[in-house]
């Protein structure tokens, strides 16, 4: 080898210095990797944004502004005849109770020595519209309370509640006829005096939905009961049917066209949009069989059909994971095929089946679209169901449907409720999924 054999115009290269092409390739490599990191970061950022939005917006729903007042239950107003006859007292409507609130405010203001130009009418406007009804219920419970002075804790109006939570400000109410700047000044004074305060709001978790006018009184408890009864139906139907179907398909089914049809069917059903199941429920369960509309039973049936494929697919996977040696050993000891499946394979597959069922239930719990079609929105169920039959058959809502209902209403105070409802829904989902993961970790066997 001599230098002479090298072409004159050859570029001298060295493995110690990078040439332009290698640099370009390395840069492309780094870029490509960066795209990947960016994609992951974008996905995780979305998750963080979602979670902070949910918690930030919904946390307020768990706190509520209350106003504590001493109200004198004036006999002259509530029981004109003075004979404590419940029938007569019932005739006094909530309008009859409203003046008592005005008086109560006036006394309170005098007692605290607050100076304000506010009329007592605008003071009592700070209260929720449910306040007179609350007093009336209290009186009707025991008529001997008339004449006494009782300390009540009333819900504050949603505007006042929003003011204490920072949602309503002096600027934002410029065009709002329901609340004035003077009222907010008065609220500031009352907060200082400790009459108005923010507290934990258990009624949001256990209470019922309220009408459009009273976002401050709305709760998700009854809808939660509706969801509970639906999940009960799903569990009672989807688990046994799903397990039975999987056992047949995995252990007994002969290889023929019918089995193929069933299998293709199940995998396709798993991908059918949920709203189609809603149409099925409406057409078959409500229009054809005439089951009651808005009943958790119907919702449960629709969600059962929707979750069945999920449960079947996961059950089949866990049956498949049980090694054939177990079956062979059972058969060898004289068990019938049915006995080997029910006594040996099924118990070994149980943790997997349970995990799949919980995940299926979690999916059903968050599903909304089919519930809209079978009418689980648009009305207010005021009382929690008191028995199994009424829980299944009386019109009710469900948690996601209730959230949707709140999101549709015009008053932004309901958005806070909707986000709060989502927090509760997610708490359930996270719990269920965690249980599923723990079950899998704890009982999963590797053969």
């Amino acid at each position: 080898m001599t230098d002479a054999s090298m072409p004159e115009n050859a570029v001298k290269t060295s493995i110690h210095t990078l040439d332009a092409r290698t640099k370009k390739r390395n840069a492309a490599e780094a870029r490509f990797k960066a795209y990947g990191i960016a994609a992951i970061a974008a996905g995780l950022m979305m998750l963080v944004v979602l979670v902070t939005t949910i918690v930030g917006n919904g946390f307020g729903a768990f706190q509520q502004t209350f106003i504590t007042l001493d109200v004198e239950l004036v006999e002259k107003k509530l029981d004109k005849k003075g004979n404590r006859d419940i029938a007569d007292i019932k005739k006094v409507s909530t309008f009859g109770y409203a003046p008592l609130l005005k008086t109560a405010f006036e006394t309170k203001v005098e007692e605290l020595g607050i100076e304000t130009d506010l009329k007592s009418k605008s003071m009592s406007a700070l209260l929720s519209k449910s306040a007179p009804a609350q007093m009336r219920d209290f009186v009707l419970e025991d008529v001997s309370r008339i004449g006494q002075t009782v300390e009540f804790t009333f819900l504050a109006n949603s505007r006042i509640d929003g003011y204490l939570k920072g949602r309503v400000t002096r600027e934002s109410i410029a065009n709002d006829k329901n609340v004035s700047v003077e009222q907010l000044d008065f609220v500031d004074q009352m907060v200082e005096a400790g009459v108005i305060e923010k507290r934990f709001n258990i009624d949001f978790i256990i209470g019922a939905d309220a009408s459009d006018q009273r976002p401050e009184a709305a709760g998700i408890g009854v809808a939660m009961a509706g969801s509970f009864f639906m999940m009960l139906v799903v569990l009672c139907l989807a688990l046994p049917i799903g397990v039975a179907a999987s056992i047949y398909l995995e252990e007994f089914a002969p290889k023929n066209w019918l089995t193929d049809v069933i299998e293709v069917n199940i995998s396709n059903l798993a991908a059918v949009p949920s709203i189609v199941f809603g149409i099925l429920g409406l057409a078959v369960f409500i229009n054809y069989i005439h089951l009651p509309q808005s009943a958790p039973l119907v919702g449960g049936l629709v969600l059962t059909l929707m979750t069945l494929p999920t449960i079947i697919i996961s059950t089949r996977a866990s049956l498949k994971a049980v090694p054939p040696s177990i079956r062979d050993a059972a058969l060898g000891l004289g068990a019938s095929k049915m006995q080997s499946v029910f006594h040996h394979v099924l118990p070994l597959a149980a943790p997997g089946i349970l995990t799949g069922t919980i995940i299926g239930l979690a999916q059903a719990l968050g599903e909304t679209a089919p519930l809209l079609l079978i009418g689980m929105i648009g009305f207010i169920a005021s009382n929690p169901p008191d028995s199994l039959a009424s829980g299944l058959l009386d019109p009710n809502s469900a948690m996601p449907a209730q959230i949707y209902e709140w999101a549709k209403r015009a008053d932004p105070a309901f958005y806070e409720r909707a986000w709060g409802g989502i927090i509760i829904l997610l708490v359930f989902l996270v719990t269920m999924n965690t249980v599923a993961v723990i079950l899998r970790r704890r009982f999963e066997r590797r053969w």
Binding site: R25, A28, E29, F32, K33, G36, A39, I40, G43, L44, M46, L47, L50, I241, A244, A245, Y248, A253, V261, I262, N265, I266, N268, L269, A271, V272, P273, S274, I275, V276, F277, I279, L280, A283, V284, Y288, I289, H290, L305, L308, K337, M338, L365, G366, E367, T368, A369, L372, L373, G375, G378, P400, I403, A407, Y415, W419, I422, L425, L426, L429
Partner: protein, 490 residues
């Protein structure tokens, strides 16, 4: 007798039958179970199954059909004059049912005696006022023909329930009697029971087919009714969606289909690049700890209910876009007038689909054999060149399948578009304007007090059927592609 009690009685009979059957078998074998053909509990189970299965089957079928049959009989008995102008037989029948239900309630609460309720005449009693006592509100006063129909409805329902109760109890007792008589030490109880259980298992597996048949039939029937009232050419080839509940609507699917596809396209524009790059990074670059941390976190996005995304689009993301692109926004341009738009719904749906694309592609990329990567590295390719030129082409059919599945999800998604996409049906190209989709229209046509005989309501079934066919086609195609691809490497 309420159905619940009937079910409980049948179950009680079955439990008793189980122990009786078991005892009788042991007795016939002289107390020594070795002389029996099967284990003792099989004899008991045989009795229990023969009590439960026929009785509950009849109970179920009867409950399902009784309402339908009585409805048909009563509605065919209604004179034509009972149907007022502008109403339909369906509406009159629902009134008949409400009256019947109200009369039952009146009797149950003791406000009216049984004979009184049977001899009620609309001329003499204000039925509407009486029904209002038990909280049944009627729109108009009750016609005599409706009242008569309601009374025959009641009597038929009552007779039907009595016959059903008797039939179910007889079947249960007959089953018990027959199977107890059967029980003998030489009776092949295990084989009988196992055959019965197998039939039950097959029945459970067939429910999947039944569901599909139910979906298809329920939609096909109503769609046929729809096409009887509305021309199919307008539905498939018209250009306007303008439902009008006074009649004379233009109901064309094309503007809705445009909205659906446009929003799905925007969603895929977000989900596919992010999901695909996430999958590539997770399967090719990420270290084990990063992978086991990031993958489950990404998959949380898929587990969040769609109502959450819907609310996010409606309350947070839509107004955010409006603050950027709207009048007086940060950019100072006025391109957006409403928080609901194609971009709002599409981008939020895209976030939801990220884990869907990423975990499916991740599986597929992992299935590409390592030897192909090693071959590429051996020829001097960098990691990214290997991925771009070897791994991705090999995984392409699977990735296409994953994208098709994601598309089918996007087309069928309901809550996000209901809350984020708006309600205007048109052919618009601006992603910052509101459009509407097939699923949104299904919800709006079927919620509220629609009359199930008008084309405006029935169109929802035609839309549903189209949606079903569309998503089914995409799924079948996707599964076909994925399956074909798998055959190459396994």
């Amino acid at each position: 007798m309420p159905v619940l009690w009937l079910v409980l009685i049948v179950f009680a009979l079955a439990t008793v039958g189980f122990f009786v059957g078991r005892m009788r078998a042991l007795q016939s074998a002289g107390g020594d179970s070795r002389n029996l053909h099967s284990l003792p509990y099989f004899y008991g189970t045989n009795v229990a199954l023969k009590v439960l299965v026929p009785a509950l089957l009849v109970l179920g079928i009867w409950t399902l059909l009784q309402g339908v049959i009585i409805n048909n009989v009563v509605s065919s008995g209604l004179p034509a004059s009972a149907i007022p102008e502008g109403s339909t037989i369906g509406l009159v029948m629902s009134e008949v049912r409400r009256v019947a239900e109200g009369l039952d309630l009146l009797v149950a609460e003791g406000l009216m005696s049984q004979s009184q309720s049977e001899n009620l005449r609309a001329e003499f009693t204000d039925v509407r006022a009486r029904l209002a006592e038990v909280g049944i509100a009627l729109g108009a006063n009750v016609e005599n023909s409706v009242l008569k129909a309601a009374q025959s409805y009641r009597s038929m329902t009552a007779t039907g329930s009595v016959i059903m109760t008797l039939l179910v109890l007889c079947l249960a007792i007959a089953g018990a009697g027959f199977s107890i008589a059967q029980t003998h030490k030489n009776f092949r109880a295990r084989n009988t029971v196992e055959r019965g259980v197998l039939v039950l298992l097959i029945a459970a597996a067939s429910l999947a087919i039944l569901t599909t048949v139910g979906i298809v039939l329920s939609m096909v029937f109503e769609t046929r009714n729809f096409f009887g009232l509305h021309s199919w050419t307008d539905f498939f080839f018209g250009s306007t969606w303008a439902p009008n509940f006074r009649g004379d609507s233009e109901l064309s699917i094309l503007p809705l289909l445009w909205g659906t596809l446009y929003i799905s396209f925007v969603a895929l524009l977000v989900a596919v690049p992010v999901g695909l790059f996430a999958a590539i990074y997770l399967s090719e670059y990420a270290s084990r700890p990063v992978r086991s941390f990031a993958k489950p976190l990404l998959e949380i996005l898929a587990g969040i209910p769609t109502i959450v995304y819907g609310l996010f689009a409606l309350v947070t993301f839509g107004p955010f876009l409006l603050r950027i692109f709207g009048d007086g926004g940060y950019l100072g341009i006025d391109w957006m007038t409403d928080a609901r738009s194609v971009a709002t719904a599409g981008i939020v749906m895209g976030i939801m689909l990220i884990p869907f694309v990423s975990s499916l592609s991740d599986d597929i990329i992992n299935a590409v054999p390592q030897s192909m990567r090693d071959g590429s590295y051996g020829l001097g390719a960098t990691k990214s060149e290997t991925i771009k030129q070897v791994v991705l082409p090999a995984a392409l059919p699977g990735i296409v399948g994953a994208i098709l599945l994601a598309t089918s999800r996007a087309i069928g998604e309901t809550m996000i578009v209901v809350m984020g996409a708006g309600a205007i049906a048109r052919f618009a190209g601006n992603p910052l304007e509101a459009l509407t989709t097939i699923t949104t229209r299904i919800v709006s046509q079927l919620t509220g007090d629609g009359d199930f005989a008008s084309p405006e309501t029935l169109v929802a079934f035609a839309l549903g059927l189209t949606l079903f066919v569309l998503t089914l086609g995409l799924n079948v195609l996707a599964l076909y592609i994925v399956r074909k691809y798998r055959e190459q490497y396994e």
